[in-house]
């Protein structure tokens, strides 16, 4: 019997990730203008599972706060964080570039333009749709340009195409903003990201895409390890590098676009969470991707908790919180691990 232990997702880290999500869930639901006892919150949450009926000691109003107000928002935070982190880890693997983030191929610029148009043309109701369409169109255009421009379909051509498409869309967006100066404030607040919820509406919008993205990316996580030796060698190992890359990018971009559509442009999560996971749990994408999903979810839900409680009754832009707390934490992890490994 062999004693070799290949890089796989370790049970310990998996448990830690699930634990982090549960802590974020209970804390996110319990804390707010009305503080609810965590034990009661946990009981109420368990009651949502069919067949479970625990006494929580909460009155009807408090139960409504949980199920109608806080839980949708916390779940949205979990989903958005999971998508951005998973997509970020996926992009970093596909491009073999530690600086890659899920906005690399024009998702941010496309979504930004879509949202700006929706706001500028007083069509706020279709904002998520406009942002989603903008992000999707931007990625597709980037991909087509990248494929047309590079005979070898190398990742560098794709990144350059992403830069070109982003600049182009940003130019249009800037022009629109300048023509509609009165909307700048609203657009700006969207660009910084926010997790406002209207019942379960946003969650149900995002959930199907999140599921597809998660299933596809996690199913192909071993291929990302193979891709790390470069296209030529990956092909000599029997892989179709271009095909794998296209599927992974399509899935990651879909999840990102859907997340951005309901939450705006929350920066930092997609780049930092996968790196922290990599530093702590090892460099194989077989653990980076599932752990990024879990820790990204927990991180964003907790960041949102901070965003809405620190200056209550006011609210901080969540993008500010993720960067303000995420950056020092990232530096700390960098310094305390043996060496920088990307």
């Amino acid at each position: 019997m062999t004693t070799l232990r290949p890089a796989r997702l370790s049970l310990g880290w998996l448990a830690a990730g699930v634990g982090a999500v549960l802590v974020a869930l209970v804390a996110g639901v319990a804390l707010g203008p009305v503080t609810l006892p965590p034990g009661s919150v946990a009981a109420e949450l368990l009651n949502l599972i069919p067949g479970v009926d625990l006494p929580s000691g909460l009155n009807e109003r408090e139960t409504a706060i949980i199920t109608e107000l806080r839980l949708p928002r916390v779940v949205l935070g979990l989903l958005v964080g999971a998508m951005l982190s998973l997509a970020g880890g996926c992009y970093q693997g596909v491009f073999r570039n530690p600086l890659a983030d899920p906005y690399l191929l024009g998702v941010a610029a496309g979504a930004g333009l879509g949202a700006t148009m929706a706001i500028a043309f007083r069509a706020g109701a279709v904002l998520p749709l406009a942002a989603f369409a903008g992000a999707g169109i931007a990625v597709v255009v980037t991909y087509l340009l990248g494929v047309a421009g590079g005979r070898d379909r190398s990742s560098a051509t794709l990144i350059l195409a992403g830069v070109a498409v982003s600049s182009f869309l940003a130019a249009i967006q800037t022009y629109l903003l300048q023509r509609n100066v009165d909307t700048i404030r609203e657009v700006y607040s969207w660009l910084l990201g926010r997790l406002a919820t209207n019942g379960w509406h946003e969650v149900t919008l995002l959930l199907p895409y999140a599921l597809v993205t998660t299933i596809v990316v996690l199913a192909l996580r071993r291929e990302l390890d193979v891709l790390s030796v470069g296209d030529t060698e990956a092909a000599s190992l029997g892989l179709h590098p271009q095909r794998s890359r296209m599927i992974l990018l399509a899935a990651a971009s879909l999840g990102t676009a859907a997340a951005v559509a309901v939450s705006g442009l929350i920066g930092f999560v997609g780049i930092i969470v996968p790196h922290v996971v990599r530093l702590l749990a090892g460099g194989s994408y077989r653990s980076i991707l599932p752990l990024s999903l879990l820790f990204g979810a927990a991180f964003l839900a907790l960041a949102d908790l901070a965003a809405r409680t620190l200056i209550a009754p006011g609210e901080l832009p969540i993008g500010v919180v993720t960067a303000f707390f995420g950056a020092p934490f990232f530096i700390l992890v960098l310094r305390s691990t043996r060496r920088v490994s990307v």
């Binding site: 070799l4 232990r5 796989r8 193979v226 030529t232 092909a235 892989l239 460099g283 990307v342």
Partner: protein, 255 residues
């Protein structure tokens, strides 16, 4: 084991190989030599499937055009000239990548994959390095790990593109002796490219001299490593001295 028939390769606008014919018998070690730009690496890459070609390449009786990618990877293993060293990857996981052609697209390594890798690691005395990150190994150790990944592929045909170019003279000999031992143990067929002519001649059964995309000479080392041929194709002035395992080529200064 390998038949190359009328192979042409065009990179960009330039045709690099102009109709190359080459046959390598099962168990044979053939080394391709030739001046810079002759097309040695391109020939290996065509056989490995890394560049598109015109003409026929037949591996183990099957034309490569009829081989699915995974099947081809089970027949041909390549050690690139400068393999990519993935940051942060441990030696064990790197060698396990060699089992990719046997792992179902959504699957994971089987116990058999692990035991094959274990055997390769033991054979190359790499057991103590398995937990180390590949980046932290020395040049000679890395070359053994690259070789281990290729062997883990379990392919009967091994392509080595300049396997010793990054190594000092002692490690060159160590790696080539290792390849020769493995070739006999595992009945491998080896197709290599090499710059050092004496070393190339000492280890290969047959040398193929490639010049400007065509085969200029093909035969046992003593027939290919001659002062005339090397003067003609390398524009080099050399003395060829008979050695125990093949001709020794010594460059001499033009008077």
């Amino acid at each position: 084991m390998l038949a190359v028939e009328g192979v042409r390769v065009t990179l960009g606008d330039a045709e690099i190989l102009h109709g190359v014919d080459l046959a390598v018998a099962s168990g044979e070690w053939v080394t391709v030599i030739g001046p810079n730009g002759a097309g040695k690496s391109t020939l290996l890459r065509a056989v490995g499937g890394a560049v598109t070609h015109h003409g026929k390449i037949i591996i183990d009786g099957t034309p490569t055009s009829a081989l699915p990618r995974r099947r081809r990877a089970q027949l041909v293993a390549t050690v690139a000239q400068q393999p990519v060293v993935p940051p942060g990857m441990r030696v064990l996981d790197y060698v396990l990548l060699g089992r990719t052609p046997y792992i179902a697209p959504l699957g994971r390594e089987s116990a058999q994959d692990l035991s094959i890798v274990e055997q390769v690691l033991d054979s190359l005395e790499l057991r103590r390095f398995i937990g180390r990150e590949l980046e932290t190994l020395s040049g000679g150790e890395r070359q053994r790990v690259f070789l281990a990944r290729a062997l883990a592929q379990g392919a009967p045909l091994l392509l080595l593109d300049e396997p010793t170019s990054a190594l000092d003279i002692g490690h060159q000999q160590e790696v080539l002796e290792l390849v020769d031992r493995l070739r006999h143990e595992r009945a491998l067929t080896v197709l290599a490219t090499m710059h050092d002519l004496s070393v190339a001649g000492e280890y290969a059964d047959r040398l193929v001299l490639l010049a400007e995309g065509r085969i200029a000479a093909d035969g046992p080392p003593a027939q290919v490593l001659t002062e005339e041929l090397l003067a003609l194709h390398y524009r080099a002035r050399v003395r060829v001295i008979a050695g125990e395992f093949g001709p020794i080529v010594v460059p001499v200064r033009l008077s």
